[in-house]
Assembly symmetry: C2
Homo-oligomer: 427 residues x 2
């Protein structure tokens, strides 16, 4: 067994102890982490400068360097995140169901941690803080593998976090850092000991993870989000929302990629849309019907509607109504977040019932699908799967439950042979 | 694309319509199914006789023939099951969270069906009725593949169910029957169109399914359940519970396989246990320490504690206390259902917090872990996974949710640039 696998195997025991720890102790650990980050800020910044220096040397792109940088602003955001996490109620030990099956036979469904979670994330030091603190709050042991560009920053952050957690009394070995790239595949092969993998990164990376492990994976690869401009939409509001959804953070998974327009308003709306997008440097693409109506649109084939641009490009399509819009979204979309802009309640009803996505919106930007904006505090990721957690995943998606049954010697034979009967009374 | 794959692909659309159907219509379909079963009972019985005749010809074992048989008693149980399902509240469209993010910006988390579910089940005609009705009640389209021994019975049951559902107004094609064995692999390859697979059958069969699909699988392979007799247990009650857990249905996944005994009471308890088990024809096995204390116990090695017998055999082990019992269970168990027999509240606390199983019991038989006995109505299976549903899975585990966000033109830029702020008010 490799060193990492052996360590992960040992984590099982730590995870059992962590699962039974009190909420107060887990909160104390979060407070200790905050303290440690603040009192070691200079050390952290100096390690981060080393990562930044190496990034400059290696010609790392500006966008990545922006994520890499860990400064006073990101430190403040991180400690504020810790404060808000401390203030949230304990997600563990909540009784979700309490039922008397028969006299003296009580069934309870009680929330508990998932166990051991593997997190593989992009080059963002603040993500390491956010994810490890979410795991600790929810009583889950975590194996963390960060991007290689943040090696120095991650190393000190991880050390501070682990030491603070152990000082606060959480079990030794409930957090583990994997550093080398080869350890990703080792981690993915720990299906006996790791209960869930959460990958954060590019589509190709997430898809690689999904294809190379038997451990359940929570997350999303594509984010092909749609906005459908219905015939009753307010056209100026529509332009405002579309600009936000495309431009506010172009590389985000919840940025809009395809704009569907009701054919009846296309003649009025497309020129407005074209002008506004052009001003912002956005290239529009569409099939022939669109290019004929709006000069300057790049012609493309129908199959291109499955493209996630993550850049200043968007696809445009005309549809006959909400039915066709829904059909297009369910066919080409990635079940992430899709919106309708409409004043028509019946169209919204139809849309919200049938669009098979984690987020289904009316008259707002798709960019709202995010744990912070939903008021969940931090998130570990956004899931487009339908099993377990869906959409932005905060503490809610990091717990499962067990059924506790307490009795006084009851046996099944008495019930199956009619000497006793269940009465099922919810308490 | 093969015929089955093409049909499953078509089901997507039917599943979207089914998802948006009203609860009343789904209940009407269940009522129509009940009607159809009752008015075609003679036809069903006669098809079942054909299956029974072939089973006799092919030397099918008695235990399987018992499950195969569909008679007046099973029909009554099935129609009672339908009645109870109709009486349960609609699991769809339930608002689990309703939050005002800001003035005029309302987030709701609303339950919805998973989509398309593939169910592969053993040779039990009543299972076909139970599973298809659970899927319909929860708005899920279902592909059903039953055991080949029930071909004739399944064919007529499926036809009656599908026709009744469509007559009640549910979308055409929301139920599909797969009949040939080769279609199992085809179904398992439909990871683009099938959201969840539920296999029911032998360990080897379930493991095959888990190893041969990228679709999430809900269920369990092993059921290695433990009962720990603590030193404070009432010894007569302990014997009664152990007999029930081993004998009431020996081949059940929640039958006890390993009996852990506190070393302090071993001298008193083992002879009692040995005598009672011998009388019922149960063979006990154990490591040397056990065989030395109790004559007649078959000696085995430590690694044999990982055995699921499903027969009149059980392993026995002595432990130093609840700590060692928990360690043994988490190491050798299958995370299904494990019990402690004790009067000691502290031991129960320790046990219930640390045993990492779907069912954690005190002073009752492990045989209680079952959807009917939990008052869930029917179940589609028992899950030992920790992602999504755990334990007996009824309607609760057949739904997911979507986030609906309704606004008045809000854009994210206003919030990220400080012109507006969220106020997160739960409604």
């Amino acid at each position: 067994m490799s060193e990492l696998k052996e360590k992960v195997h040992q984590m099982r025991k730590a995870s059992i102890e962590l699962a039974s720890s009190e909420g107060e102790k887990r909160n104390a650990a979060l407070a200790a982490i905050k303290e440690a980050l603040l009192s070691h800020r200079e050390e952290i910044f100096s390690e981060n400068e080393e990562d930044m220096r190496l990034a400059a040397e290696n010609g790392v792109p500006e966008a990545v360097k922006k994520r890499l940088k860990f400064d006073e602003g990101k430190l403040t955001a991180s400690t504020e995140g810790l404060d808000s996490l401390i203030s949230l109620p304990d997600p563990l030990g909540k009784t979700e169901l309490c039922r008397e099956l028969d006299e003296g036979l009580i069934l309870r469904r009680v929330s508990c941690p998932i166990g051991v979670i593997g997190v593989i994330f992009e080059a963002r030091p603040d993500a390491l803080i956010q994810i490890s603190s979410l795991c600790l709050k929810s009583g889950n042991a975590a194996v963390l593998k960060g991007g290689k560009e943040t090696t120095h920053t991650n190393r000190i952050l991880f050390r501070l976090i682990r030491e603070a957690a152990e000082r606060a009394g959480l079990p030794e070995g409930c957090l583990l850092q994997a550093e080398s790239h080869s350890e990703i595949d080792e981690l993915l092969s720990c299906d006996k000991d790791v209960d869930l993998v959460i990958p954060r990164g590019s589509n190709a990376f997430v898809r690689y993870i999904m294809d190379h492990t038997r451990i359940p994976v929570l997350g999303h690869a594509d984010g092909i989000c749609h906005i459908f401009v219905d015939r009753s939409a307010d056209l100026n509001t529509a332009v405002k929302i579309l600009l936000d959804a495309k431009l506010q953070y172009t590389a985000a998974c919840n940025a809009v990629e395809t704009i569907l327009v009701h054919r009846e308003i296309a003649k009025d709306f497309l020129p407005k849309l074209g002008e506004a997008m052009k001003k912002e440097g956005v290239v529009l693409r569409g099939v022939k019907e669109v290019t004929e109506l709006l000069p300057g649109v790049e012609e493309m084939g129908e199959e291109d509607y499955a493209t996630e641009y993550l850049s200043l490009t968007a696809s445009v399509k005309l549809v006959a109504g909400v039915e066709e819009a829904v059909e297009h979204i369910n066919r080409f979309g990635s079940h992430h977040t899709d919106a309708i802009l409409t004043k028509d309640d019946a169209a919204w009803e139809y849309f919200r019932q049938r669009v098979d996505s984690a987020g289904v919106y009316r008259n707002v930007s798709t960019r709202f699908s995010d744990g912070f904006r939903y008021g969940f505090g931090a998130e570990v990721g956004i899931s487009t799967g339908k099993i377990h957690a869906r959409g932005p995943v905060g503490l809610h998606g990091l717990v499962t439950y067990k059924y506790l049954l307490e009795g006084e010697g009851q046996i099944v034979a008495d019930y199956s042979e009619g000497r006793k009967a269940f009465h099922f009374r919810d308490l």
